[in-house]
Symmetry: C2
Amino acid sequence: MPATLKEVAVLAGVSRSAVSRCFTEGASISPATRAKILKAADQLGYRPNALASSLTTGRTKLIGLISDNFHNPIFLEVFDHFTRGLQSRGLRPLLVNLSGETDPANSLRLLQQYSVDAAIVASSTLPVSFAESFAAAGVPVVHSFGRHTARPKVNTVGIDNQEAGRLAAKALLARGYAKIAMLAGPESATSTQDRLYGFLNELKSTSGIEVTTSFASAYSYDAGYAEMSRLIAAGSLAEGYFCGDDVLSIGTLAALQEHGISVPKDVGLIGFNDMAMSRWGNIALTTIRQPIDDVVRLSVEMVEAMLAGPREPKAHLLPCELIERKTLP
Amino acid sequence: MPATLKEVAVLAGVSRSAVSRCFTEGASISPATRAKILKAADQLGYRPNALASSLTTGRTKLIGLISDNFHNPIFLEVFDHFTRGLQSRGLRPLLVNLSGETDPANSLRLLQQYSVDAAIVASSTLPVSFAESFAAAGVPVVHSFGRHTARPKVNTVGIDNQEAGRLAAKALLARGYAKIAMLAGPESATSTQDRLYGFLNELKSTSGIEVTTSFASAYSYDAGYAEMSRLIAAGSLAEGYFCGDDVLSIGTLAALQEHGISVPKDVGLIGFNDMAMSRWGNIALTTIRQPIDDVVRLSVEMVEAMLAGPREPKAHLLPCELIERKTLP
DNA sequence: ACAGACTTTGCAACCGGTTGCAAACCTGCG
DNA sequence: CGCAGGTTTGCAACCGGTTGCAAAGTCTGT
């Protein structure tokens, strides 16, 4: 339907190369012909076909954006940041919803078929190997919210989950709690493992603390509600809880309230993420903020750097921060 | 990097056309050559280049997914449904974040350059003209959550906002309130206008009811909080409120609680959307559910139908439903 | 007016596929 | 064995662009 380069060339009375050059940054073309071409193009409503040109240039400006998290509200913020960041650099996000799939083969094939210039894996739960198989197939990739390693095989922007666990432990210790617990997310998620590790490690250094751990089946309200209900029924609540995620915390909070257990009077609670709604007055969750704007910004910058040329994979590790609200005394 | 059709042809000892046919549904090819080609393709890790083939076939299977709403948690649910629905049909969502832009020109140009097969405008706030300019440019389009018109110029899947307004009014009237108000979203949003219209219309039929209306500056927590705070300060609260959106409701709720005004004892509240978190125990918002799964399903079906061939634009109008929880007595 | 240097232009080949057409290949049948 | 009919195959042109190369054009200085 839209006009092609050839039609513009005919109308402007020049060769196809001239038209092509007219729309290529820094190509050699005289002001006179450029004006002629622009006029003709405008008249026909011509738009260069990005896909056709990608065939010869080898660049599509398409970036695969892969995620397995379409349920946690924090990810709407993540998508907002990513789409804006990519768009402002002239890149186009091709969105892939993993929806439970953990094998990279399908999404890899798909993104290869569309010759994306790079891929972003946005997930705190997928194993390192997921992003690595993109790199192995020659697709430049950055793993956002991925696990930090000293010698990364792929570009990674992660947050310091261990340090976050320590931060949470310190906050609970500071309240003088003797019975402290973590209500973690799915045991298989790398982020869960790291937060738990840091948490336990910090608690080890203080003696006389009783520590327990349990795992929710997902980073979700229902999972948090279910797990806390189970704990209440079992009858052995801790005094202070570190929840592996804000949504999980809110489910936990609901279960506690339902049983007349007051937060923070009877039980203290600390979440993780600082999603927009944790700030809301009726929730007011004390939590650990992860700098998603920085994670996304650095990720997009890494994508840009990779497009500019091959480079050694790097790993960024970003610090988290305790945000005090009303679920800890 | 990935192998090309030509390389497969050489390795298999056949012509390029043969290879092409091997990967084209329903093309004429003998089992023997097909086996040879498959073996060679497999050996080279060949993946047909979707973009190159789009050049001749005129189909990219790319679908522009345009939204201006990356802040309301309900839209994460929307994106989840859309991406799954499109993917399951072999279509690929190219995501466009309008981020405040209301002129379709840029996104239209962008999607034309990537020769998307169709576009989905997912927004309850954009004017009808937005989607129409896509149609005018020859890009098949469906406006999801768009305003219903009897003679639509573009495919539309919308919800019955007027009926929803009436539903809310009836629910408030049923509580015997005499002072009833709507705390609506931005005045410019078509969804706001329609909900308000239905709401006021229903109230007209009962005499002796005092009705007021105010508008929040956005469909957001902060806007709801601010507007309700203003109303409280002004000192003339109604007995029952219909809020134009759930997030707005939660902001409203927070402002009320903060001033020691009890919901639903002192003031009744009814929201709109039934997003996942409205169900959460600590919020328990009485609200009007919009069937986003149906909206999305029908939208994707319409996209599919448009791809199959040109057709008259249709408009679906889907009913909403009152969900009773704890913010109305 | 002309050599030399630099800029602008068009030709033609190419990117990775698809497809109409006609030739080559199979069948089965008389 | 020859032939009609259908099936499989390759040729070559095409989709909408880009780009190396050499020819053509412009400008400068003398």
